[in-house]
């Protein structure tokens, strides 16, 4: 069986996997990071979105062996120092951007990638960007609001750091 090594949430990890093991399975089963969810089998719902080398990808549509040597961030990697939420996580809480919570990790990871590329997205740009993230609970209204607020908070954080 192939061996894979990668950095996940800043930690070096490795494991033996079948070649067919998906990155999502490796994260959930081998690493026991169950915040990354699997909501479909056709690469559409986005519950499994993680960052690989800084870009959001669907971890259910990437082989673990393809992530060999990569730097992976999952939802668990955002609020590393215990209880301090990432501004995007905080924005989702403040704006009731989640209900059942199942799509939420993917939504948050996707939203951060958007803001990394487009620090001040319009509502319409946010809605377009979310094409690959399906939520059945919220009607997206508060997710859009959350991401706009999260983007503002991330801009603020960046400005403060500069």
């Amino acid at each position: 069986m192939p061996t894979v090594s990668m950095t996940v949430n800043g930690k070096q990890v490795s494991g033996e996997v079948e070649a067919r093991t998906l990155l999502a399975q490796f994260i959930r089963e081998n690493l026991e990071l169950t915040g990354t969810h699997i909501g479909c089998d056709t690469s559409q719902c986005g519950a499994c979105v993680v960052h690989v080398n800084g870009s959001s990808v669907k971890s259910c549509t990437m082989l673990a062996v393809e992530a060999d040597g990569a730097d992976v961030t999952t939802i668990e990697g955002l609020a590393m120092d215990g209880d301090t939420l990432h501004p995007m996580q905080e924005a989702f809480r403040d704006n009731h951007g989640l209900q059942c919570g199942f799509c939420t990790p993917g939504m948050v990871m996707s939203a951060i990638d958007l803001v990394d590329r487009n620090p001040n997205p319009t509502d319409s740009e946010i809605r377009d960007w979310l094409e690959g993230n399906i939520c059945r609970c919220t009607g997206y209204h508060n997710i859009v609001k959350s991401i706009a607020a999260g983007a503002a908070a991330m801009r603020g954080q960046k400005a403060a750091a500069e």
Binding site: E18, R20, R28, L33, T34, G35, T36, H37, I38, G39, C40, D41, T42, Q44, C45, A47, T74, I75, E76, L78, A79, D83, L85, Q89, F92, R93, D94, H96, L98, Q99, C100, G101, F102, C103, T104, P105, V108, D123, S124, I126, R127, D128, L130, E131, N133, I134, C135, R136, C137, T138, G139, Y140, H141, N142, I143, V144
Partner: protein, 791 residues
């Protein structure tokens, strides 16, 4: 109003774990020694099982066991509601085995379970099971199923594929009302079949404990106690004290996770056979053929009106598709949750409905967000709008003319229900203001300048939820009570644990219920924990569906809190050397009227557990109370939804440009959460109206079997919503609460379709079916412009 009490938009307590990936959903749970199940499902809609050869598959790597229906001889998955035929005879109720016996009846029906060390091994091995099936002709639509000579899904157990032929209302009196009518307006509508698609696929882990003989089932359920009862008593014959059902964090339900499913029984039963825990998790394409679907009605209705547009009578004939087997609550959805709503918000004096529920070779159909009420609302609000157009009346005026007035409550309808409160004029007025109804003509003209067809549609609706009085539903055939239980445990230091039978899978109970406690006991919300979802921790529960959590579960908590306050007041009286009648409790403090004596809730709690100075002769130590609450009536939310669309006539694409909802949900505990619930309902309602459709071919193959073909609404399908509340209080519960979980999905579909038809009216289009896809809209325009071609 306190910052964390009733009426405050408290941020949700549950969000931290969900936002940090620390939720605990069923598939996140792993037990030591866990094995994996793969369910081999039928790829035929209807076939006789001649032989299942598992010998080769059993020798595949990692396989521990394979079971078929022959091996698993257990009870039938039960139906929870008996509906009688018109003539009083009982419905046809064919058995529903967890693993198929003799025949498979839909694509997805369970044939065998393979248990292996890994899921991949189980799935690999399943391909080596050799099936000898004799294909039979299939029926997928209600009309095909009741045609003479149609293939029979259950052979002689359901002649004519009929489950029941049921009626409500007085047919003769309704006919008489039609005799004097100046106008009769008729409509034929189809309520499209939907796939619920909660984002978390269903999963189950069965775990038999060899030492104690106890079974534990972890499952994605909205009501773990109901599963324990149904699976224990009816399917596997396991007593409650040997069976624990845990529904941990659940990723959305929308009705689809109410029912007791075959996979739950299979993994529980098989875990005893293989003596190891067994996990099953659905793949999404499997969810499409194994989660109960929703809706699927075909209806003809006639509305009689007098010359002024006043409704005189309504006759409704509905055929409901139940799928291949009776899912847990399937039978009550097209009857007691549908036809009883046909008076709507109107004073229609005579209503008659006949409902035929029919078996087909499709996935079982059951309640999906709204369950029966969206079907009733869609029919009624389409019909009322059609009547307005045919009579040349204004859409709003025809509704106003027929509204049950605000001073007419309690109001007895001709179809069994007695509404307790409402003010339909108030929600209408507010919605029209918010939607700028009067400014529509200008917006339409502006859109026309851009080549777009703009339309506006309205729906004034009502629903019955907060289900329900046990005695009433029992008299109507329910085989369960519909109360709720609560336990309030005050800890020695004054923090509080609530154990509720309501289950939260997105609704935010951990926050809303905690607000009730914070308000009632005057303690910080951080000091309250809401526990749910485990039959070992929670005394009993009927679970979450029918927008009942607050109106029933919340009331049970209030009742238990009341008992806590009573007992605490007595302890406080003792401490303050006063009479209990003189003790007042407010903002967490007990005081004695006319004195400066005061003792806080925490001191009383501590005293209850360290009872040194305590009225032992009259009170037991401790501070913990139980309550069961069984409501007096349903609750009746209602309101007004207004939708505005723009249609691109070149492509037929319909864009919702404005969606306004003003709902009367009773008292609002947490406005943020209530609005969120309404948003979600609106998205599902608009989804039904414009995007979603579950489609079978004539052979029973599911054509919309994945997100590639079933159109799940996405963010870019919607505008921002204008959703708010305008409430009257429920008259029969202490909080005055009604329910908000389903209103969005109930009121919106007809508003959307009425808007589409309004936009297309100038093109000569008078009818369109849901979902009004771009293809259908384009086709409707073509047909209207070429009448000959439409024939």
């Amino acid at each position: 109003m306190s910052a964390t009490g009733i009426g405050a938009s408290v941020k949700r307590k549950e969000d931290f774990r969900f936002l940090t990936g620390r939720g605990n959903y069923t598939d996140d749970i792993n037990q030591p020694g866990q094995t994996y199940a793969y369910i081999l499902r039928s790829s035929h809609a209807h076939a006789k099982i001649k032989k299942i050869d598992t010998a080769d598959a059993k020798s595949a790597p990692g396989v521990l066991a394979i079971f078929t229906g022959e091996d698993m001889q257990v009870g039938s998955l039960p139906c929870g509601w008996a509906v009688n035929n018109k003539d009083g005879s009982p419905m046809n109720e064919p058995p529903h085995p967890p693993l198929a016996q003799g025949k498979v009846r839909y694509v997805g029906d369970q044939i065998a379970v393979v248990i292996a060390e890994t899921y991949a091994q189980a799935k690999d091995a399943a391909e080596r099971i050799v099936l000898d099936l004799e294909e039979l002709p299939a029926v997928t639509t209600v009309d095909a199923a009741i045609a003479p000579g149609a293939p029979l899904v259950h052979d002689d157990l359901a002649p004519g594929n009929m489950c029941y032929d049921w009626e409500i209302g007085d047919e003769a009196e309704t006919d008489a009302a039609f005799k004097g009518a100046a106008h009769v307006v008729s409509i034929d509508v189809t309520n499209n079949r939907l796939v619920p698609n909660a984002m978390e696929p269903r999963a189950a882990i069965g775990d038999y404990n060899k030492g104690t003989g106890e079974y534990t089932l972890y499952t994605t359920s909205q009501n773990p106690h109901v599963i324990r009862l149904l699976m224990g008593a009816f399917v596997l014959q396991l007593p409650e004290h040997k069976l624990r059902v845990v529904a941990p964090d659940v990723g959305g339900g929308f009705g689809s996770k109410i029912y007791h499913y075959a996979e739950e029984a299979i993994v529980t039963w098989a875990s005893e056979k293989v003596r190891r825990p067994i996990k099953w998790t659905a793949e999404r394409s499997e969810s499409f053929v194994s989660d109960a679907h929703g809706r699927d009605h075909v209806t003809h209705a006639d509305l009689a009106l007098d010359a002024s547009g006043k409704f005189l009578g309504l006759k409704v004939y509905t055929k409901a598709n139940l799928g291949a087997y009776l899912s847990t609550f399937s039978t009550c959805v097209p009857t007691y949750l549908y036809a009883t709503l046909l008076a709507g918000v109107y004073t229609t004096p005579k209503v008659y409905a006949n409902v035929k529920s029919i078996f087909t070779n499709t996935v079982p159909v059951d309640a999906y967000r709204g369950a029966g009420r969206p079907e009733a609302t869609y029919l009624l609000e389409r019909l009322v709008s059609k009547a307005a157009r045919e009579l040349g009346m204004d859409q709003v005026e025809i509704r106003r003319k027929n509204f049950i007035p605000a001073d007419a409550f309690p109001y007895q309808t001709p179809v069994a229900l007695q509404y307790d409160s409402g003010d339909y004029e108030a929600t209408l007025k507010k919605a029209m203001e918010l939607a700028d109804w009067n400014g529509f003509a200008a917006r339409k003209a502006e859109a026309a300048g851009r080549g777009k067809l703009r339309g506006i549609g309205i729906s004034t609706y009502l629903e019955a939820c907060g289900i329900a009085p046990s005695a009433v539903v029992g008299s109507l055939g329910a085989r369960a009570g519909l109360f709720e239980s609560a336990n309030v445990r005050v800890h020695p230091t004054g923090s509080v644990s609530i154990y509720t039978g309501s289950h939260s899978h997105g609704q935010g109970h951990e926050t809303t219920f905690a607000q009730l406690v914070s308000e009632t006991l005057g303690i910080p919300i951080e000091n309250v924990n809401i526990d749910h979802g485990d039959t070992n921790r929670i005394a009993f529960g009927m679970g979450t569906y029918g927008s009942r959590s607050l109106a029933v579960g919340g009331e049970a908590i209030m009742k238990a809190l009341g008992k806590v306050v009573d007992k605490a007041s007595k302890i406080a009286a003792h401490l303050m050397e006063a009479s209990a009648e003189d003790v007042e409790f407010k903002d967490g403090k007990f005081t004695v009227a006319g004195t400066d004596k005061e003792v806080d809730f925490g001191t009383v709690a501590l005293t209850a557990y360290v009872p040194h100075n305590y009225p032992h002769e009259t009170l037991e130590p401790g501070l913990e109370e139980n309550a069961f609450y069984d409501p007096m009536n349903f609750t009746y939310p209602g309101g007004c939804h207004i939708c505005e669309v723009e249609i691109d006539p070149d492509t037929g694409v319909t864009k919702v440009v404005n969606m306004t909802a003003v709902d009367d949900v009773g008292r609002v505990i947490n406005p943020m959460i209530v609005e969120g619930q309404i948003h979600g309902g609106l998205a599902q309602g608009i989804g039904q109206a414009l995007l979603e459709n579950c489609e079978y071919d004539e052979n029973g193959q599911l054509l919309s079997g994945s997100f590639m073909d079933y159109c799940m609404p996405r963010a870019d399908n919607f505008p921002g919503f204008q959703a708010t509340t305008e409430s009257t209080l429920c008259a029969h519960n202490s909080l005055g609460v009604k329910g908000c979980g389903e209103v969005g999905a109930i009121g919106s579909p007809p508003a959307v379709i009425n808007a589409v038809l309004d936009a297309l009216a100038d093109k000569g289009v008078t009818d369109i079916s849901m979902p009004a896809t771009s293809h259908k809209v384009w086709q409707a325009i073509q047909n209207a412009q070429m009448p000959a071609a439409a024939e």
